[in-house]
Each structure stands twice: as C-alpha cells, then as structure tokens.
Symmetry: C2
C-alpha cells in the first residue's frame, strides 16, 4: 500500500499542488498543515569541494525531501514520510547510511537506525546490522512487530530474516570514497596509536535523519547511520537510541541528531529538548539552542526538528549541516552551509 | 589499589565507625557525608517464598551494601563503591546479573551493564556480553579507556580481551533456578504463540544497581542485568543505556532503574528525573514520583537514587523492590516489600 501510494504521489507530485492533494484524502481538509525536515549530517563540505559536488548533494537531499513531501501531501502519515525519506537517503551513496556507509575497523559496515512515533511514544531501533538494505525499515518493524525498542547485531539480523526485509551482501554498502576515507583514518590512528587521545572530531559526515508532522497532527522522527569511520568493538552511537539521537512526542516536537554520538547519549539530547519544551515551556528553538550550545560542546553536531505547529528548526555548532525542509505552504528549501 | 583498599576496609568495617574511618583519609574530614543505595530488582518475591528464602536475599543485599559502604567509609570514590557493590551482586546467583543471569531464547546468557560518573557526565555501557564475569567492570573500562559510551556483542568481547578482565565460559552464569524459569516461560510463550500479545510483565526479577555519593561530593550510578528471560534478537533493554536505566549528575542526583526496560528507554527515564530536578527545581522524590507514576505505567518498575545531599529515594510501582541503603550517619537498611 505504501509503495502504491508513493508511486502515485511521485507520479503526480510535479503538477498537483500540496493543497489539492491533501484535499483528496478523507483524513485531511483544506486547513491541514504538514511539514517535513531532513538532514544528511552535521558538518561542512571539504574546503576544496567543487560546485558540482555540492550540487549532487543538494540533489540527493532534494530527492529525499520530495519523497517525504509527497507522502504528506497526499495525506500519508508522518511515519510513512520519515521512512520514505530516509530510505532514499540510505540508498544514496553520498550519505553515511545504507549504501555509502563508512567502513568499520574490520573494513566492513555496521548500520544503526531508529524511528519514533510521537503519537504513542513507541520507538524502534537496530544497532550493528550488516545485511539490511534499509535499516530504517527494520527499525520500524522493531517498533511495530516486537515489544522491544532496540535489537542489536546477529539477533537483529535474525529478526530481519523473519520480517523478510530487503537484504544485500555487506559489501554492497561499500563505495570507493568511503574506503579511501577509511584508509586515511586508519593510517592516522595507527600513527597516533592513541585510543584515548583520538579526538571525537572530525567525524565522518553523513548520518541522515528526518522529522515529519502529518495533516493529522502526528509527529514522527527517524535517524540512520553507518556510525564512525574505523569504529571498533561494536561501538553503538546515538542514532539507534530513542532519547539520544531520535525523539518524537506529539505534545512537543520531533528531533533527529547528527554529530558526536557519545555526547548526545550522555545528555539524552533528543529527549532533553522535548522535556525542556514540556517543563519549561520553551520554544523548540530555545530548547534546541540550550542543549546544543549550553550542554554540548562546540562542534559536537546538530539537530533538525519541528514542533507541533510544524515550525522547523535546525541548530548546529558545526560549520554547516546538510539539510532541507518542505511544508504545506509550498516551502521547499535545501541548505548546506551556515546560511 | 582498589583491592587493597577493599581488603583493608572489610577487615576493619565491623569495629571501626564510619566517621573514624573517613577521618583517617586525607580526602575527607569529620563533616564528610557519604551515602549509598542499591537494588536487586523491582518486583515482589513469590507468594510462597519461605522466610529462609527471603533471608538469603536480604543477606545478599547486605553483603553487597557492606562492600560499597566500606569503600565510602574509608574515603573511596563513589565509582569504586558502585563497582564494588555491583560486582558482589553479579557474583551472587540470586540476582539476574552475572552468575544467576536469566537464559535467553537460545538457552544462553547475554549481559548488559552501564556506569556513569556524575562529576564529568562520562558514562560507559556494554550490551550482550557473554563471557565477562563482571560486566559492570567492563562498562567502567568503556567509560575510562575508550572515547565511546556503548559497546555491544562480539566487539565488546574483543574489548574485554584487550582489557584483560575476568572471563568465564557462558554456562558459568547458569543456575538451575534460572533454567527452570526459562523452561516455564518458553512453554508459555510457545503455547501463546504470540510475540505481540506477550505482556511486558511479569519480567524476571533481579536486575541490580547501585548509586553512591562519596565524601568528596561525587555521585556515581551503575546497573547490571541479564535482561529478560527468553529474550530474542539481541534485545537491548535500558540497563546498558546511559539516560535510560542509569544516570548520574553531581548537580542533581544519581539513578539506577529496574523494570520494563523498553518503557525506561522511551521516556529516557533516568535522565528525565535528573532534568526535572534541574529545570523544575523539584526534589528527587518529586521528580522520581512524577516519572514512575505519571509518565510510566503502573507496574513498569522502580528506581533507586540519591541526591547531592545524600538523601536516598526509592520509588516503585511494583509490589516490592529488593533494596538497601547505608550512609555516614550509621544507617544500614535492607528492604524487600512495600514497607
């Protein structure tokens, strides 16, 4: 059904306005508002990035945003929009999620993802999956098909088999660009020979995420990543952890984070933003500014989010963040730098 | 050094008062206050438990509390006290952590633990370890010896090898009692044949945890568990996740949780209690009551905690919680039921 809806929405998205599309769905009416925001990682492009390289990344974000927008514009749910958006980013080799994920210390890929439903506070996450083409889809199955919130490693692979989600060989996630980055990081870390002294930054750019508000007023959020280049020991970052890298609560906001995952875990960063809105009656902007700028360290990363009115916020303490937003008023906005 | 200190403190603990012991340490003075609280799981003993069975559990809690108290009374750190206390509980076959951990669906044991330093907000956790005798010790090494917060599965085992921590065969964690519980749960779940319909409760009692405040004013918290009986798919609960099952911040409190882990993750429960103290200026009692009774569901579990003044709090929505507390005023208190 989702696929049919997506096909339909993609077919018509270029010439049907959002308003007329939502009007066609019985769940929505002409006053229904929806909004969507996505990211492709906190950080900045290399100083020597060409205009063409930047344009390819903008195009990647734009394609993903279009997928999610089309779900919402045709009356689809925020969960469907988040999953559709992140699947496009996972399949795009430019981002550190799914195809194009970074290499771990064994020269392989271990993928993490999570998704949360702001209506019910249900959430699902997977950590360290190796053959699941779209980890965000498996995370959603954890949420809906198990009583659990987080599955990891071989157990999560077993669950993927039972759920019959798309599988690929681990090396299908590999790209030459990521391999080159890994070789560079490996050489550097061996030379430094210091696990403790290795700075948390710079991380490898490209974790992806999406937050959506649908016409029914439901917020959903999701995040997907390959983690950190050359990661060891089954390291789990914030992306698969509800409360750290992903959070959604219809009463407050939805959040997806990118950056130094350990910092987002220590501060329960995504949940903290929601709690500050609830308990201090701060705006999403105030709460996100506080957590990113007062609690985390400069350069730790960034978040995207939206509140229950559909107001989109992005806050990052990195030089840039690959991001974009669209809404029912016709906004369609892609950005990279600190503009 | 820690072992020598422990030996010394155990030797003298029965006839040296806490105050004279702390006075012997240059880090402390006669006004120094310390406190410690531990738990052996939220829940109640079986209705047919004998007085002798209950006494054995009280004795187990008492031995662990003594270990932690002795660290604090001799001027040791809250991190050392938490680790020492939880190691005793892990080694005790009565509790669902280390030896005596529940069986997973494969008839084996997968252990989770975490620890947090309230002075620095550093934290460490391990999920799904299989041969580490004391997971709490490995969690502490994650905190101090890596830039990461959470390691999982085979990667965490590799890290254990590098750190040279005590190892045992997986079946060394087995007890006949836990095997019998597993057989019973398996039969029931197969009969019901319904992953979704299986109630989150009753869980298997016995997750352990400890929170301590040392004479220097530093709070630490830790949690260790075997998870849920018959768990599948590499399920990760709240115990290894900083913010969910464990939290410590010198500015507010320390927390260790036990219960339906998924609920504690969804609500970032341990971190939420700390944040409510910080941002609403609630007492630990108020914050813990709110999270356990207003946010979580009745029966979801319980928490132990203490605030920066050393005030101990336990809140649970189960019929009981295995728990105890001691402090520099001479308190030494073990409880099980709702007294």
């Amino acid at each position: 059904m989702r696929q049919i809806l997506l096909f339909f929405s993609i077919l018509f998205s270029s010439f049907v306005s959002p308003m007329s599309a939502t009007a066609a769905d019985p769940k929505t009416d002409s006053t229904s508002q929806w909004a969507i925001v996505l990211h492709g990682g906190a950080g900045a492009p290399p100083a020597d990035a060409t205009a063409k390289q930047l344009q390819v990344r903008r195009d990647g974000l734009s394609a993903a945003l279009t997928a999610g927008r089309n779900v919402l514009a045709t009356g689809g749910s925020s969960l469907d929009a988040v999953e559709a958006t992140i699947r496009v980013l996972e399949d795009n080799s430019l981002f550190n999620a799914g195809h194009g994920a970074v290499f771990n210390s064994a020269g392989e890929h271990e993928l993490d993802a999570s998704i949360m439903d702001g209506r019910t506070l249900a959430g699902g996450g997977v950590a360290g999956v190796r053959t699941v083409r779209n980890p965000i889809t498996l995370a959603r199955r954890v949420m809906t098909e198990t009583p659990h919130v987080l599955l990891s490693g071989p157990g999560a692979e077993t669950f993927a088999t039972e759920q019959n989600v798309d599988r690929v060989p681990n090396d299908a996630f590999s790209t030459e660009q990521r391999r080159a980055e890994w070789e560079k990081v490996k050489a550097k870390e061996t030379a430094e020979n210091a696990r403790r002294d290795q700075p948390a930054r710079p991380w490898q750019i490209g974790t992806v995420g999406c937050v959506a508000l649908d016409a029914a007023g439901n917020i959903a959020a999701g995040t997907s990543t390959g983690g950190r280049t050359n990661k060891k020991y089954g390291r789990v970052g914030d992306s698969p952890i509800i409360g750290a890298g992903t959070y959604a609560d219809n009463a407050t906001c939805g959040i997806s984070a990118s950056g130094v995952g350990e910092q987002f875990i220590r501060h329960a960063a995504a949940a903290q933003i929601s709690l500050l809105m609830q308990h201090r009656e701060w705006s999403l902007q105030q709460a996100a500014d506080y957590v990113l700028k007062e609690r985390l360290r400069p350069g730790d990363g960034g978040i995207i989010g939206l509140d229950r009115s559909g107001k989109v916020v992005w806050v990052f303490t990195t030089p840039g963040m690959y991001r974009g937003a669209a809404d029912s008023s016709g906004r369609f906005d892609i950005r990279i730098g600190n503009e």
